[in-house]
């Protein structure tokens, strides 16, 4: 197929999921994000340390909404987020005089490394981007960003996924651990 022919699209989207699936997706996401948000509120350091970063909303879509997708599995969620956080912080520290380049390099490199390690997780791109554009509070964390909030939040979301996704008979999670 030629360059332009490829743009036309050849197939279609999969079918819509049933209402039961929609219900449990909602419940799981509410529980997961709710837990992380609540922990952020009661954390010992008061309002200082953020736990609920934007990329966790994206992770919730996968872990609670597309539970059988390889992108939603624990290896991808935790591996993808942590790897992307490290890449993001590194790009910020190395390239901070040129913010657009730091941002672009962070996301692109995170994707490449997630591919190579088979931990592809779309919200990882967001985690890497936040490391650059998240502002002074995020920059001040340095590589600690990769542990809190990123690793901790990812683990909590996966834990809620394991507990809640397996409640209905029609669902199971995870498909694989490593």
């Amino acid at each position: 197929m030629s360059y332009f022919q490829k743009m036309r699209g050849t197939t279609r989207s999969p079918p819509r999921v049933g209402a039961w699936e929609v219900f449990w997706s909602w419940v799981g996401a509410f529980a997961g994000i709710g837990l992380v948000g609540w922990l952020e509120q009661i954390s010992i350091q008061g309002a200082a340390r953020a736990l609920l970063i934007g990329s966790f909303g994206a992770t919730a879509v996968l872990v609670y909404g597309a539970v059988r997708s390889p992108l939603a599995q624990p290896r991808n969620v935790i591996g993808g987020h942590v790897l992307s956080a490290v890449v993001g912080v590194a790009c910020q520290q190395l390239l901070h005089p040129w913010p657009p380049i730091a941002a672009a390099a962070a996301v692109a490199t995170a994707i490449a490394l997630m591919h190579l390690t088979r931990t592809l997780h779309p919200p990882g791109g967001a985690t890497a981007l936040i490391a650059v554009i998240g502002g002074p509070k995020v920059h001040a964390l340095g590589f600690g960003y990769a542990l809190i909030p990123v690793a901790l939040g990812a683990v909590l979301l996966v834990a809620v996924g394991v507990l809640v996704n397996n409640l209905p008979r029609s669902r199971r999670y995870p498909e694989f651990w490593v």
Binding site: T10, T11, R12, S13, P14, P15, V17, R68, S69, S170
Partner: protein
């Protein structure tokens, strides 16, 4: 032979779409990719099966043959009575000396192209019978030699590769000493998953 099941091309778009719908959650694959995966898996399974099956499991053992010295008329007659388009030529010790096919015979009886219908067309155009040399050639003059053969313990996959790679329709099957034990055609080696053999 051939598979009793269906071919890949018979999986419709609706079949794939309905299959996706039967899984309870969101499946991160398009019907296009699902079809490609299915076809590739089928191809891999076919190859694996063909590597496991031996030629002697699918060959025809009752082979029509001629001797080296058989006249062209006898060759043609044998081919006609068994409805084959080619046959092996044997030495006195049972070894395969060559293979005669329609392609070898027809040019010798005045057909420029190796097609029986071309012969009929030529005869119809000239409004008469064919002129054929009375002192006809013999099997050993017509045959292709040395013949392409396959061992009876070779895999069906090797036979298929040879048939397709050399563009031939039949392969005489020989034992360790080169003696004829059977014959395989393309139809015989197209072993598929879900077919008569699996």
């Amino acid at each position: 032979m051939g598979s009793k099941g269906f071919t890949c091309g018979e999986l419709s778009e609706e079949d794939l779409y309905d299959a996706l719908g039967e899984l309870s959650g969101y499946v991160d694959v398009t019907t296009g990719d699902l079809r490609k995966i299915y076809e590739l898996a089928w191809k891999h399974a076919s190859q694996r099966l063909r590597q496991a099956v031996r030629v002697n499991e699918v060959m025809t053992r009752d082979v029509v043959t001629v001797d080296r010295g058989a006249p062209a008329a006898e060759v043609a007659e044998r081919m006609a009575e068994r409805c084959v388009s080619g046959l092996p030529v044997l030495d006195t010790d049972g070894r395969v000396a060559g293979v005669v096919s329609e392609r070898d015979l027809l040019p010798r009886v005045g057909s420029a192209r190796p097609s029986a219908m071309a012969l009929v067309a030529a005869a119809l155009k000239e409004g008469g019978t064919l002129r054929i040399a009375l002192s006809g050639p013999r099997a050993e003059d017509l045959m292709s030699a040395p013949p392409l053969t396959i061992r009876d313990d070779a895999s069906v996959q090797e036979a298929l590769a040879l048939l397709l790679g050399r563009g031939i329709n039949r392969l005489p099957v020989v034992d360790g000493e080169g003696r004829l034990v059977g014959i395989v055609t393309r139809a015989d080696v197209m072993v598929e998953p879900g077919g008569a053999l699996s």
